[in-house]
């Protein structure tokens, strides 16, 4: 069904609040939008309580505009900054317990596969570095070992932003944060390599400087998860508060990191590569 549940009952168009009417008439449901047209259609997420200048909020905005099938997508999150915006989006969102996203997503995806064997229901986890690589590490890894067919996106701000700025496993070595008063004692976890060895079929690492490329990566990660297995995106989404990055320098910081340790990286299995090549050939023809 998918689309039916985002259509207003006949007669009620004149009683719905404006933002819902706009969502249906000028939103993304049932059509593909171009991320470069942002601002010219009603977006799935608008108002949210994330900090001004937050780069994670920007990434999430691009994420929603990139969904291949928003009316059949379920997003899961956990404690942390991202859920502040995720819970305001016009896409079903599951907020479970601390770090449980990839276990909940495993159960959810399996249930949807049992109930709707002939449909694509896209399941996407968006959680932070703490949620996926610290508290939820075991569940993240095991969902990959089990080859669960959903997408995991790590919005890595290198800190526990929402709880007040504590060190995470993804913080760079030496950085002084709360709970790391002498500076972090060990290196940033290499999440991308972990994802590859654990069985992800598509892995990407990026600093979100290029919206078109972000959109392409998100789309690819979701489509590959539908057909082949787990997919993973590691995105650098700075915390301008805890790392004291002036708002006007947030983009420059992202570009700077892109030159250093967040150089764009994309890896996929041969099978997935073949699938995308086929798909892109068809798209060119069309």
């Amino acid at each position: 069904m998918g689309l039916e549940y985002v259509k207003i009952s006949p007669g009620f168009e004149r009683y719905m609040p404006r933002d819902y009417v706009d969502l249906v008439k000028m939103g993304q449901f049932g059509r593909q939008v171009d991320v470069m047209d942002l601002g010219q259609f009603k977006e799935l997420v608008e108002d949210h309580p994330m900090c001004a200048g937050c780069y994670m909020a920007y990434f999430i905005r691009i994420f929603y505009a990139s969904l291949p099938n928003p009316e059949d997508t379920i997003v899961l999150g956990t404690a942390g900054c991202a859920r502040l915006a995720l819970s305001q989006a016009a896409v079903p969102f599951i907020y479970g317990n601390y770090g449980d996203t990839n276990a909940v997503a495993s159960g959810l995806k399996r249930a949807l596969t049992i109930r709707f064997p002939d449909k694509h229901k896209d399941v996407v986890v968006i959680a932070g570095d703490g949620g996926l690589m610290d508290i939820g590490f075991g569940m993240t890894m095991h969902s990959w070992f089990r080859r669960e067919k959903f997408t995991t996106i790590m919005v890595d701000n290198e800190v526990y932003g929402n709880t007040g700025g504590q060190e995470s496993g993804m913080s760079p070595k030496g950085v002084q944060l709360k709970m790391a008063p002498k500076g972090k004692q060990f290196d940033k976890i290499n999440a991308v390599e972990l994802a590859k060895v654990a069985g992800c079929v598509y892995v990407a690492k990026l600093s979100p400087t290029n919206p078109k490329r972000i959109a392409k990566v998100i789309r690819r990660a979701i489509l590959a998860a539908r057909h082949f297995g787990p997919t993973f995106i590691h995105a650098y989404t700075s915390c301008n508060i805890e790392y004291s990055i002036p708002t006007r320098e947030v983009l420059a910081d992202a570009r700077n990191r892109e030159k250093k340790d967040f150089k764009f990286y994309e890896w996929m299995t041969d099978e997935v590569k073949e699938y995308f090549e086929e798909m892109e050939k068809k798209e060119v023809k069309a």
């Binding site: 069904m1 009952s9 006949p10 007669g11 601002g39 009603k42 905005r61 919206p211």
Partner: protein, 239 residues
């Protein structure tokens, strides 16, 4: 010591006990609840109709299950709700389109939200209301908060087993039952001698008055320019 299990309009206090703790149970099939007591549907409907006809600013709060046309019975039910609304003098429709705690705040004239229903009730001085098409869990949250903090007479037209915290709760309510209730409203209106030509309630005040056919970038995302700098553009300041 047994507490009084009369469920009447509030305000019932800072944190009143839910009706289920006081021993109120949902009505058996074919029956209804009136002030926490099991009664015939007819009796409950008449009392509900009277409240909607005599109390100030009667309002219907339709929930997602009727607002969205997700199947044919939802669409039929939505039609019946509109028919009912047009028979209640000066009735308003204020929707509950979803259940998220909406940031930064709701427009209380345009919508009701289950995380803070009192905003809408108090802002509009609503003294009688009908919940229909709201999932039971969220309806119960709202009904309790409304009974705690307002003097609103609550009526639940429930498609499932009913709601203990409403002043009137009907159960297994579908399109036909809503029409049956509408007939009771019309009958009661005549009994009370209220003159009324059926007409649809006013539209949602948040909707623009003109025909809204196109959209400009200015309408959405006031930070668009900040977040999406054009090539070569240097952003000098933020809010």
């Amino acid at each position: 010591m047994a507490e009084e299990k009369v469920i009447k309009p509030g305000p019932a206090g800072y944190i009143p006990k839910p009706a289920a703790f006081l021993g109120v149970d949902t009505p058996p099939p074919g029956k209804a609840l009136l002030y926490g007591e099991v009664v015939d549907e007819e009796t409950a409907m008449r009392e509900a109709a009277k409240a909607m006809l005599t109390r100030r600013n009667p309002t219907i709060f339709p929930g997602p299950l009727v607002l969205w046309g997700w199947n044919s019975s939802a669409i039929e039910k939505a039609k019946a709700v509109l028919e009912l609304a047009s028979e209640i003098p000066n009735c308003r429709i204020i929707p509950m389109p979803d259940y998220r705690p909406k940031y930064p705040k709701i427009n209380p004239e345009a919508e009701i939200n289950p995380n803070h229903p009192n905003l809408t009730i108090l802002h509009n001085r609503i003294e009688a209301c009908i919940f229909v098409g709201v999932h039971c869990h969220y309806a119960n949250l709202s009904l309790r908060m409304i009974r705690a903090g307002t003097n609103c007479f609550t009526i639940a037209l429930c498609a499932e087993m009913g709601h203990e915290d409403a002043m009137v709760s009907l159960r297994d309510v579908h399109a036909d039952d809503i029409r049956r209730f509408k007939d009771v409203v019309v009958e009661m209106r005549k009994e009370l001698g209220i003159e009324w030509e059926p007409k649809p309630p006013p539209e949602n005040p948040s909707l623009p008055k003109e025909e809204w056919t196109d959209v400009s970038p200015l309408d959405f995302g006031e930070y668009a320019y900040l977040l999406l700098p054009r090539k070569g553009e240097i952003v000098e300041e933020s809010e």
